[in-house]
């Protein structure tokens, strides 16, 4: 099974390089929201490549079960964490990139004119 080990190594190397791309994205991308998208690249694709590489390296039914479980949990938590960070960033007024085309959320915030709280406090789902 030399070829299987080689394929596993290559997949894991690709995963590690994907993490590198995600890390470079932290420096390259203009604002917090784009950077979070960059994190998703490494958090989802990079982890998936490394786990699949591990499975190809040491194939067995038990490992398949473990890798599948790890993948599902990793993907779910990456998504939930990404949303939570984006939401927290928006509510605390993280600056947007200059190239941002339009923002539908601003309209929601401006409708609530009598709010004297922090500008980021207004959010679409607590209008009473």
């Amino acid at each position: 099974m030399i070829s299987g080990e080689l394929a596993g190594d290559l997949l894991m190397l690709a995963g590690a390089l994907t993490f590198l791309v995600g890390a470079l994205g932290m420096l390259r991308l203009p604002d917090m929201y784009s950077r979070l998208s960059g994190v998703t690249v490494s958090g989802a694709s990079g982890t998936a490549l490394i786990l699949i590489g591990l499975l190809v390296h040491q194939p067995s039914w038990m490992n398949m079960l473990k890798v599948a479980l790890a993948l599902v949990i990793q993907l779910a938590t990456t998504a939930v964490g990404g949303s939570a960070m984006a939401r927290a960033g928006y509510l605390t007024g993280a600056p947007k990139a200059d190239s941002t085309l339009f923002d539908d959320l601003v309209v929601e915030a401006e409708e609530d004119t009598n709010s004297e709280e922090h500008p980021g406090h207004t959010r679409p789902d607590n209008d009473s």
Partner: protein, 133 residues
């Protein structure tokens, strides 16, 4: 619920992970290319997308699936009427992002609804106008 709609439902459950993997791969390549090549082509935008999802499970799955795809991110979600606000890195126009999110939604609803999925809102518009947008 007919035999046909149940069959589509079962196929939809099997198809959803395949579609997700494809979406993840395409999004990763796009964002990775953006990071590695000099210059910036990103045109980010926050887009309000009305959904056809009804239950809590569908809405939270939808928000997570959008976040999972590199290049798009859920910033806020509302329960009633079901809406998500999506930050997209490559927004050519409102309708392109809405169409993209509705494609994900189609695939999700096909896996969660045995009775079949409702048509897209913009498809209804198109039928009334009698022409494709």
């Amino acid at each position: 619920m007919t035999v046909k709609s149940v069959l589509i439902w079962i196929l939809g459950i099997l198809w959803l992970p395949v579609y997700l993997a494809y979406d993840l791969l395409v999004g990763s390549l796009r964002v990775g290319w953006e990071i590695l090549t000099p210059g910036s082509q990103i045109a980010p935008a926050f887009v309000e997308v009305p959904l056809r999802c009804r239950t809590d499970f569908e809405i939270s799955m939808m928000a997570n699936l959008v976040s999972l795809t590199p290049g798009s991110l859920t910033v806020a979600a509302r329960h009633d009427p079901a809406t998500v606000w999506v930050h997209a890195m490559y927004a050519e126009s409102h309708s392109s992002i809405i169409r993209y999110v509705h494609t994900i939604e189609d695939n999700l609803l096909r896996a969660t609804r045995p009775e079949g999925i409702p048509p897209r809102p913009e498809d209804l518009d198109r039928d009334e106008e009698g022409q494709r947008r």
